[in-house]
Amino acid sequence: MLYIYIYIYIYNIVRCGGSKVNLRPPIISTDSRFLLCASGDLVKVYSTRTEEWLHSLQGHTNQVTGIALNPANHLQVYSCSVDGTVKLWDFIDGILIKVQLVLTHFLTLFGLCVSACPECFQLVAVHLPKSAEQEVEAKEMSVVSSHISSNPSCTAFGRGGEYIAFARHLQLNVYFFRKQKTCSFSLKATDKKGAKNAFTCIACHPTDDCIATGHEDGKIRLWRNFIHKKEYTYSTQHWHHNAVNTLCFTPEGTHLLSGGIESVLVQWQYGAGNRKEFLPRLGGSILHISVSSDGQLFCTSHSDNKITVIESSFKVCGVIQGLVKDGVLTDLMIDPRSKALVLNGKPGHLQFYSLLRDKHLYNLDIVQQEYIYEAGLDQFEVVKAAFDIKGSWLATVEERGQKSSDLEFFLKLWAFDERTQSFVLNTTITAAHTDRIISMCFSSSKETTMLVTIAEDGQFKAWCQGADADTQQDQNFWSCDFVGSYHNLKPTNCSFSADSSLLAVSFQEVITIWSPETWEMLTTLCQPPGVIRDLCFGRLSCSKYLLGTTTRNLLCCWNLLTCALEWSSSVEVSKLQPDPLSENVAAFSYQSKHTDVFVFKPSEPRPLFTNKNVCSEKVHRAVFVPREEPLNNCDESSQWLNRSQLYFLTQNMDLLTFSTATEEDRILSSSKQLVIDDSVAVTPFYLLLGKHGQQQQKLNTQSHPALLHTPAHVLPAASVLCSMFVNSLLISNTGVQEEMDSEKEEEDSEEEMEACDSQQELRVQGSVDEVTLKLSKAQERELKRVRKTDFSWMAGLIDSKP
């Protein structure tokens, strides 16, 4: 069996969505309908019109590092990955056609040959052997150059693939395949005016022998006559004020597109000096630009994990937004209403990201100031955010000037507006504290909402809504209710108990317990040495426990009834995350360069679940995401995943999660969606209508799809056509028979399904151009469901036939 399924462990740590879509330039299919981009170990296929994620090409076991259309067949795409394989896919159906094993780490893939890069970054040509077998080992490799840049945009193929241009630092090399000769040209590091001449990107003109290079100081040079060692020449154009990140020629070569940190797409007219057009304010800095083969669509990938689809008339027509994970300062949070993951998004925004659908929902502008895309500016950034338990309030802290001494910060409170279904600014507190806010939390009681903030000025403040009597307005603003401190010590963390009857604030080594009702300090708990780092109360049956971690590798559990230490364990905990729906608490421990996860109940010191070596980086952010419907997994060690799922963000900004076997199955089955009819874009309407269309085609060969495509005014009268049309929709008896069969099939074992799948795969690979498609199990199931449900209306139609 050749179709590679990843063998699924009972707990698998999986990269769960939100992976980068901006690592490599996306490609647009020849008909401009699909957009493909490498994302994690998948190749995702999007529709260019609706920006909808259609499906993904799954099969690589590591980061996909390059994709390229098959020059011989524009419906196929090559992809390469760090796992050392090059795969050929049919991207419309999502079928793997061929696997080439090349045992190097690919950095990226270019048009005709493949560049593979082990540690030293070499440019190699890999001969892909032609053979009918699905898995082939490509052995023929020849090194073109070992002096290439680690940045793949510094390498480009020239006119018709006759030469390849690659640059590193200050040297541009052109390798002519036919003559097997390299010409190299170098620039001075700096000139008198302080220009930085290092190359940053390269593009080659499709029809002329002209190489465009981008430079660190924002210049674009157009090189010509580079066949000569001396008589080469270049012209310089300068608009970008910072490094040019990417360059791209349109397919006819009439224009050159460039982009950089300014997030302005610049279109230079080729050969007309400095005539140019601009498309400003695209978001994050532009990392890649790609153009469809007809030149009608451009797409740009941005540093904020976004792909923008732009028409050639310089109008943005679509945005594909991934999860922004650069510069996350806030904790991972779950919006209690939408169950979306909330964290820093665009600069100055909070993003709401649906983990279930792996889709960006919306951005909430917190800072409400224009962000200037320029390196070295100190601008406001959201650093803290917290939701209350119902999701009707959101508190945010934005600050600027962390690096310089003059710190500015605002505390903002946002109310959820039912009418607009979004958060509306309620209160801005300019000087909430005299020093920066370390942490904040909402009380967890349903009746009153209260926010507690702790700051480096040694105080904690409680904020309440409408407590200020002299505001005579309808709206209730937030104001300070209580200011507390403890021996002028610097607070480190705060936490409310599950019923909000207690507030724990840790001051260095001391935990103080307060009653929020009377603001009376009830007791102090202390377990020196070590400053308290994390605090959390137990939930449900364990609510009498308070957990704390210290900097001196101690995890302590206090019993609040006896005010005594219940147990403690010597473990270095970098993050303590309680599950809101169960007693479970997850602790991430970083020891000897890898992170372990423990899940335990505070009442019993023995962990429920231990997973060693989850990842090699420290974990500082984690969140339990409640499931929409609880799993009923009986396995004892996976029970903790039944009600909610644990997501965590590593320092490399990988969003990881634990998944169970049953989930994996579901993911797999859902990914094998119905084959999409080529002529219709995937819209919600299509999903409704498209099923009918398919059903017609599958069930009745005499159906007339032409009927639906012909304009109404050239058709004969509806009465003439009606009977024919309705007849074509009717289900024949054979269809019922099938239904019975498939019902039986449904009870078949998992193994058989796999076998079935592989069979199908093999068949498709054997003859790619075979048009008729056998339905997969999932497809059949879907079909069956459709058949079962909605044909009652048809009867009415037939009855009313004259």
Binding site: R159, L222, S235, T236, G273
Partner: protein
């Protein structure tokens, strides 16, 4: 190196004149430069752009165009005349009126048979170039507006003329217009503002390239008279165009001070379909570029900011050397300052007048590097205006400070200075000998008793001057050789020898006692830029444009041992790579082994007793030496001691009291006196 008291003179307000036209002669490798004040200079391109010849201008004599015909140089100007220059004697040969009003442009054909001038009245006039003059042949079809630019087709059968709003192509045979191409006035500019076609270039393949006031460089086809391509180069005017000899490169100068290069490159490598593509941009000027010329290995440009910029094209140069560096020529390669050493007077030569200053005096001694208190300010004694319209060609003041002499193209005047206390008066010496009608170079003998006047045929007239008057003594003539004008004279301290150097690189030495030619120094390939006769040894020390130095013993008629050593060991790389010629050679009487030299950027003392540096030793070692002990210093020091304290030096002179006079003219001061350049938006301002 020794300590000197330095008079740092900054009151010489010399203003170089803006460059108006350039003409390059491929065969002789000479570049002719016409300036706004009507002067014409000839630079030798392969001899490090040494300024070989200067033909001073006249009042109200603006040159608009220059053209070489063979080795003859013609100019035309707004006074309506065409002028031919006598390059041997460095003067105007004749001027004839074209009778077409002011002339805006002049162009000679490649065959060397005809000159075409474009006149204000709209005619293109053809002149036949004869052996010793030019003769009007005929007019081409008269146009309505003035002819601003002209270019011959290399075959000589067609002429393209740039005018207001249009370009006309004439057939030279018939004189009729073949095509009329309209240059549009451009978008964004007002409709009423006409488009001036400032420059036109006709290529052998029939392409006409124009540069206009809209800022476009346009390519036209002369077969169909249609526009092929247009390049928007600038927002303001494209003033000058020049194409390389093999027609694969074109440069355009704009009024923003940038030079844009276009190259004729094949769009697909190895194929023949070539296109003009804009490639490089050179920004070396601050003001309008009025003239550009692409020579074999460089782009030469000049404009309102009065500097001649030679920008090498590295792709055309075989190997990188000092000759291929970027070169900016600000000052003439002649001395404009004369110094009366014994009386402390300075004579400054301006185009139209002379100024005589007395140096100031200072008090006491200071530590090296500090400035002294000025006891007496320098004072301007005399402002001597030139009679007539001609500009001064050369001038001199006698060492005793009693005599002042200057010469224009037509007259030579000698004045005697009376200086009693604060009353300064001059008397003109009348009744000069007839031979002193005009001089190419003037020099007094060290005892101020004789005046040497270099004149035609490379001869030097010797005139004795005294209270009673002046008397012609004799003429020193070289035995053989060329008749090029003399540009340098050097008299020996003991009054026995005088040496002359002419622009054919010949150096003749005459014995003043016998009044005969003594000998001729072997001719070196590079021009002599400065020379001096050593007071003690009577050795002639010569500096050449390629920075080589020779010492020639007059008495033994051969190069000295030191000179041979220098030639054998070679000079240091950094010395040879300097890009301005040495302009003066002086000797320190206190220390006979010292030779003092200066160029525009530095002052150098060569100690002939010390070893010569080789390429491995540190050349500029003054700072290193300072940090070493006395013992180590000896082993590290070498013959060249360079002082870069002073910049933009016009002249350095050593006074008898061991003080140095350094005349500086800071380029910033010149820049402030120039008219304001076109305002350009600069990023982040």
């Amino acid at each position: 190196m020794g300590e000197f008291k330095v008079h740092r003179v900054r009151f010489f307000d010399y203003m170089p004149s803006g460059i108006r036209a350039l003409a390059f002669n491929q065969d002789t490798e000479r570049m002719a430069v016409a300036r706004m004040d009507g002067s014409v200079e000839v630079f030798h391109c392969s001899d490090r752009f040494f300024q070989e010849k200067i033909i001073p201008g006249r009042e109200q004599f603006g040159i608009e165009g220059l053209s070489w015909v063979g080795e003859r140089l013609f100019s035309a100007g707004l006074n309506g005349g065409i002028t031919e220059y006598d390059l041997t004697n460095q003067k105007v040969k004749y001027t004839i009126d074209a009778y077409g009003g002011p002339i805006w442009t002049i162009a000679g054909n490649q065959q060397g048979t005809h000159l075409a001038v474009g006149c204000e009245d709209g005619t293109v006039k053809l002149f036949e170039v004869n052996e010793d003059n030019i003769q009007f042949e005929r007019n081409l079809d008269r146009q309505k507006s003035r002819i601003v630019s002209l270019s011959w087709h290399p075959s000589g059968s067609k002429i393209a003329a740039g005018m207001m709003d249009m370009i006309q192509v004439f057939n030279v045979e018939t004189g009729h217009s073949m095509h009329r191409m309209l240059a549009d006035r451009g978008v964004g500019t007002s409709r009423s503002k006409e488009c001036v076609v400032w420059s036109v270039v006709y290529l052998s393949d029939g392409t006409i390239i124009t540069g206009d006031s809209v800022g476009m460089v346009k390519l036209w086809d002369d077969q169909t008279g249609t526009l092929i391509k247009s390049h928007n180069v600038t927002k303001c005017d494209v003033l000058a165009l020049s194409v390389s000899q093999n027609e694969d490169s074109l440069v355009a100068g704009t009024s923003e001070g940038i030079v844009v290069q276009f190259q004729f490159v094949s769009m697909v490598l190895g194929k023949d379909d070539k296109e003009w593509v804009r490639t490089r941009t050179f920004r070396n000027h601050t003001h309008d570029i009025r003239a550009v010329a692409e020579i074999t290995t460089a782009v030469v440009s000049g404009g309102m900011d009065a500097q001649l910029v030679v920008r090498p094209l590295l792709d055309k140069i075989e190997e990188r050397s000092a000759a291929s560096a970027l070169r900016k020529i600000h000052f003439p390669h002649r001395r404009l300052v004369a110094c009366a050493r014994k009386s402390g007077l300075m004579l400054f030569q301006y185009p139209g007048h002379l100024e005589l200053w007395r140096l100031g005096e200072s008090e006491g001694k200071g530590i090296p590097g500090s400035s002294l208190f000025v006891k007496r300010n320098p004072e301007k004694l005399l402002h001597l205006k030139v009679k007539g319209e001609d500009h001064i060609r050369c001038s001199a003041v006698s060492p005793c400070g009693e005599w002042i002499v200057y010469s224009t193209a037509s007259t030579l005047r000698l004045y005697r200075l009376h200086c009693d206390n604060n009353n300064i008066s001059i008397t003109k010496i009348s009744k000069l000998p007839k031979v002193l009608s005009s001089a190419n170079q003037l020099c007094f003998s060290s005892d101020s008793s004789h005046l040497f006047s270099a004149s035609a045929q490379s001869s030097v007239h010797l005139v004795s001057i005294s209270q009673s008057g002046c008397k012609f003594v004799g003429t020193l003539k070289p035995k053989s050789g060329s008749h090029q004008a003399i540009h340098l004279l050097a008299a020996s301290e003991d009054g026995k020898w005088v040496a002359s150097a002419n622009s054919d690189h010949e150096v003749h030495i005459y014995n003043l006692q016998t009044r005969k030619a003594h000998c001729t120094v072997p001719i070196y390939s590079s021009a002599v830029t400065a020379m001096g006769i050593h007071p003690a040894t009577n050795c002639l020390f010569m500096m050449h444009a390629d920075q080589q130095m020779f010492e020639y013993s007059i008495e033994q008629k051969q190069y000295t041992d030191w000179s041979r050593t220098v030639q054998r060991k070679g000079l240091h790389r950094l010395w040879v790579e300097r890009d301005t010629p040495c302009l003066n050679v002086m000797f320190n009487p206190q220390n006979p082994s010292h030779v003092i030299l200066h160029d525009m950027y530095m002052l150098c003392i060569i100690d002939q007793s010390l070893p010569l540096p080789d390429d491995k030793t540190q050349f500029y070692n003054q700072l290193t030496l300072k940090s070493l002990t006395e013992e180590q210093r000896k082993s590290h020091s070498h013959a060249f001691k360079v002082c870069k304290t002073f910049k933009d030096i016009l002249c350095v002179e050593l006074m008898p009291d061991q003080s140095l006079v350094v005349v500086e003219r800071p380029l910033e001061d010149i820049a402030t006196q120039l008219p304001a350049p076109i305002k350009q938006k600069k990023f982040a301002t």
